[in-house]
Symmetry: C2
Subunit: 117 residues, 2 copies
DNA sequence: CCCGTGTATCGACGAATGTCGAATCAGAGG
DNA sequence: CCTCTGATTCGACATTCGTCGATACACGGG
């Protein structure tokens, strides 16, 4: 069994407490890289802030200037980074954000502050 | 005067509260992209966790398998993303992490949780 | 003033990335 | 069964990125 990201990083390991080892860094950088594109960041935000916690792809496409295939590509990147999950219901596909994944990344960057219990 | 990132994003605007507009997204994605490389993530962590809150470039170079110019390049990327600042003191250059920048990114990802005061 | 050492910049190159149009797959409904 | 619509995959292309060696810059010390 491969270690989950959560196992590797731990629940409360801010970047500033101790140096990341190479493996942790590779793991985390994959997630941050997924956030390193404006379209993906907006997609994630649209999904996470959407009523009901999920959004249909058809609602996402109209917001951007890029084509459908490009949206699809970005959703795949977010999905493979573990930041969102997708589910098909009939004709439409709905995506929702993974709060645990976001929180994990947030905690890594939370320097200096005590981690809320 | 150009708006600072902190002004654009606000101090407590998580991704999931409301959709990021295009400008915010471009701004934030630049920072996350800087974190989207394993070497840069380890560099940042080494700097942030180093005693005294700062680290000399000479101490960073030995940790990695990459050459000096490459380290220099990654430090530049982190610097231009506003995540670290560099200062020359005599022969050596010392870098330190910017806690505000890290906290700002952390807060953006802190979904659902109340922001600690 | 000239080295020697620590950093940074430059120029180049292969690999990865973002984007598109065309083609394909998945379901719903005649 | 056929077709229409929504979503993904495929193949291609220009751009960006990470890396290196060579070179240039900044200081401190003989």
């Amino acid at each position: 069994m491969v270690a989950e990201p959560a196992d590797v990083v731990g629940c409360c390991s801010p970047l500033a407490r101790e140096p990341l080892d190479a493996e942790q860094a590779v793991d985390l950088s994959r997630s941050f890289k997924a956030l390193g594109d404006p379209v993906r960041l907006r997609l994630l935000s649209l999904i996470a802030s959407h009523e009901g916690g999920e959004a249909c792809v058809c609602e996402l496409t109209d917001t951007f200037e890029v084509t459908g295939p490009t949206i699809s590509h970005h959703l795949k990147v977010l999905r493979e980074a573990g930041l969102i999950t997708g589910e098909r219901r009939g004709t439409w596909v709905y995506y929702r954000a993974d709060p645990d994944a976001l929180r994990r990344l947030s905690d890594v960057l939370a320097t200096g502050r005590p981690i809320p219990a």
